[in-house]
């Protein structure tokens, strides 16, 4: 019997707020251990939590962007479990009355998105970070760094809407793009700013009921999500097809060794003893706050991609690439405001992204060196055929490290753009004079020889000629000769 997988995701998004969820300590990453701590996030006796408004606002932004229903009165709850990285031995989270419910995330290229339905989105606090250094000869010990304890998290739970691991990977990539787009999180999976757990079950293809599910933890890269899910689906399929049953369990996936390990089985499932957090009042989101959050939302990536297609005539693919980052889309649009829109798109997607990739820089840093209007100026000259493509790329290279406009750069490097036919005509005639045999072949109908002649002219121009213009000039010249006109005298070099 063929089986299909049913997958639901639980994503944890670390918010990029200045302070922690329930105290004023910095929520930054990378400080020396236990330096960003206070009585509240250490769970010292007597300390009390207080909700961070900025975290609530970030949650509202994401919730609104995802089209969730925002609960006017949501409730924090305590979730109990003993572990050394949990300072109070309970986590403050939201349980039966989360801040956001429902909603969906569109995934895919403009116009062809598929919306994946969500169950909920709620606020909670992160735990400290345990490490288990092993020292030879010593007793085993563990260390806990509480800097991360209390950092605000959003937990996003999807409906069981995925069938394929690749869908989950695409969903995560889209979620990462969205949280960055909204500025609510840096979404760096390596730094644990975006984490993912998955619930997986198999059922006979076409069946309505869900099978027994397992929970897959610590899928901390997009590749890990895809490969871990594939491994777990394969494991469950093997079990079921061999006539066995899947046992409810929590597993972890080691992406390095492509290995699944059972963390706990059903027998030791936790009773979290949830109950409403008595130290925090009901979280009220008044209309004005909600309206302010709504008004502060940027144009969402999928809306923007659709607009780029409609307004600039870009392909869905190009629009999606440009909307991968909000700053990139901003950069593109600023560029397109002063230059040909499609050409600008090509330049941003090929040249700008290449530089970002090579230099591992951000679009912000790039824009600081090459503002969009500066690149737009160059692209406009290319579009006007005043600067040939190869030369433009050279100019672009100079722009990265030098100040100055296009003309200034050309002058500084002693180059004159040979865009106009009048500039190139003498070179064309020179080449024709030097290659009489080739001329004859072209006249006899060899188009390959024409390519050769174009190349020769390009060479003479030291790459500064636009090939299209050269070709047009050559074709005009051959047309004239074929019509029996006498060739004009090739100019001699120098006076």
């Amino acid at each position: 019997m063929a089986h299909e997988a049913v997958i639901g995701l639980e994503c944890h998004i670390q918010l990029r707020t200045r302070g922690k969820m329930f105290c004023g300590c910095p929520a930054e990453f990378g400080a020396p251990p236990d330096t960003n701590v206070c009585p509240v996030c250490l769970g010292l006796p007597g300390a009390l939590p207080r909700a961070n408004r900025a975290a609530v606002e970030a949650a509202l932004r994401l919730g609104l962007a995802l089209g969730c229903a925002i609960r006017e009165e949501s409730v924090f709850a305590r979730k109990h479990y003993f572990y050394p990285d949990s300072p109070k031995n309970y986590q403050i989270t939201q349980y039966d009355r989360p801040l956001c419910a429902g909603g969906s995330l569109p995934v895919g290229e403009a116009g062809g998105e598929r919306r994946y339905d969500l169950e909920r989105l709620h606020l909670e606090e992160d735990t400290g970070k345990s490490s288990h250094p092993v020292r030879a000869g010593d007793r085993a010990f563990s260390l806990v760094d509480f800097n991360r304890a209390g950092v605000p998290l959003l937990e996003l739970v999807t409906q069981p809407v995925f069938r394929e691991p690749a869908e989950c990977a695409a969903f995560l990539a889209a979620l990462r793009r969205l949280v960055r787009w909204l500025g609510v999180s840096d979404g760096d999976m390596e730094k644990g700013q975006l984490r993912c757990d998955a619930n997986v079950s198999l059922r006979p293809a076409g069946a309505a009921a869900l099978g027994v599910k397992t929970e897959l933890k610590n899928l901390n890269s997009i590749r890990g999500v895809e490969r871990g899910l594939a491994a777990e689906i394969a494991r469950q399929r093997l079990l079921l097809e061999g006539g066995g049953v899947v046992g409810q369990a929590t597993l972890s996936y080691d992406v390095e060794h492509d290995r699944l390990a059972v963390m706990r089985s059903k027998e030791d499932a936790h009773d979290y003893r949830y109950f409403p957090e008595p130290d925090l009042p009901v979280l009220r989101v008044v209309g004005a706050v909600l309206e302010a959050a709504r008004a502060g939302l940027p144009e969402l990536p999928w809306t923007r991609a659709a607009r780029l297609v409609g307004r600039y005539g870009l392909s869905a693919h190009d629009a999606s690439v440009l909307c991968e980052q909000r700053e990139l889309a901003d950069y593109y649009e600023a560029c397109a405001a002063v230059a040909d829109e499609r050409l600008a798109a090509n330049w941003v997607m090929t040249e700008v992204l290449r530089v970002l990739h090579e230099r591992a820089g951000s679009i912000g840093e790039f824009a600081a060196r090459v503002p969009a209007v500066r690149l737009g100026g160059l692209v406009a000259r290319v579009a006007a055929k005043e600067i040939p493509g190869p030369l433009a790329k050279q100019v672009f290279g100079w722009m990265l490290d030098e100040e100055g406009g296009v003309d200034e750069l050309l002058a500084r490097h002693g180059v004159r753009a040979m865009g106009a036919a009048t500039d190139l005509r003498p070179l064309v005639l020179e080449v024709l004079g030097e290659h009489a045999a080739a001329v004859a072949q072209v006249l006899a109908g060899s188009s390959r020889t024409l390519d050769f002649l174009v190349g020769q002219v390009m060479k003479k121009s030291r790459g500064q000629a636009a090939p299209q213009v050269v070709r047009e000039l050559l074709e005009t010249e051959f047309a004239r000769r074929a019509a029996g006109e006498s060739p004009p005298r090739a100019p001699r070099g120098g006076p």
């Binding site: 250490l42 006796p45 007597g46 009390l48 031995n89 003893r273 109950f275 009042p281």
Partner: protein, 491 residues
Amino acid sequence: MSARELWRLPARALATAVRAGECTALEAVSAGWDGPAALWERDVHAIAHSDPGARAAGAGAAPSGPLAGVPVVVKDNLCTHDHPTTCCSRMLDGYQPPYDATVVQRLREAGGVVSGKGNMDEFAMGSSTEFSCYGPTRNPYDLARVPGGSSGGPAAAVAYGLAPLALGSDTGGSVRQPAAFCGVVGLKPTYGRLSRYGLVAFASSLDQVGIFGRHAGDVALLYALLAGPDPLDATSRASLPPDVSGWDGGVEGLRFGWPANLWREGVEAEVVAGLEEAAAWLERAGARRVPFDFLPGEYAVATYYLVATAEASSNLARFDGVRYGHRDPAGHDLHALYTRSRSAGFGAEVQRRILLGTYALSAGYYEEVYLTAQRARARIRREYEAAFSRCDLLLMPAAPTLPFRLGEKLDDPLAMYLSDIFTLGANLAGIPGLSAPVTPAAGGLPRAVQLLGPDDGEALLLRAARALEVRGERARLDRSHEVEFAWPTKR
């Protein structure tokens, strides 16, 4: 002025003397420790942690405020950066917090000085101060009897004269009942009026910091200095606290409820006689008695113990031996570390309540137990609201008995729980309550009544307490007179 006189002064007079330069803050703070009252401490054992160096440093740093140099005993579950804060539990033995509770900070900012940490039932769970890991506190009026609890230490210290004021906490009567047993004024404010930040939580939705004093005016002063919103406590009320400056304004025209059905049975005759006396005094001062039957939730005790233990089981989860407090050296793996540290660190009563609370929150019982208790709680609050539509205050017993003997209820948790029967309703409803002494019982034991008010009714409570303080007739004739406190006599 010498320690011989200073220790007898009310807090306001003591602060005035310090501000006027008649004595130093250190002399004021030391008066209780060095003067005649010091004889009591050895027998009463009101103080769990005292530190002359920390007291001297506190006196040296005390600003010249409304409490300049006034020593205040602070219950051992309120965080103090200069004294250990152990909740009188082995679990926290030796623990000294890195910060002051908000109320302690405000106390210091007003010139008050921490005199010592008051003994208490472990984690405030108890009604007799017998469940302290440092040994029990005794009632200064009869050393064979308990001072009440859980804030028995602060109550007894104020009673015998170590300090004119003390801070306690009241989760189900832990300020009002020991105040009654020790013959001092004890105020449990409206929930949210005194910050809980730095109060080691027992039951968050019931806990409230409370004030002990020998005089209603001293309690009013300290309340005015401590009350008010605290950004560090999300459950503190955002509005301005009630103005209690009119504490000496009399009770003319005030209607006090007289729910005599409550003491028809199960209440000692001496306690009932005290109620009659208080009612007569209030009437003589111009107040009006409004008799009616009142049953503040038949299930109040059950409701209280469900809510309180559920929250306690959660609040006490953090004591695990990992970051602070008792850590069992034989805990070789994580599970053993937790179970051994907690089994050895917590006393029997605390363990009993953690187990009860854990059960109440367990899957399958939560709805039946905890949610039902929450519904009952809402109903109890409505019943109090209905009562306050008929009167301004309720007059009722603070406890069904006079101070009982040490050991009398130790082996009977239910009997111990019932000693809170008249006080825990105010915690469930969030309303303020106060106990005030009346004339002692025949054997010389303190006797008191409890007054309950609606939300933010502190000013009314203090006015009534003041009226009782100046004992009826004298309230009208000599209102400004400073009543001499009736000290225990050493026997």
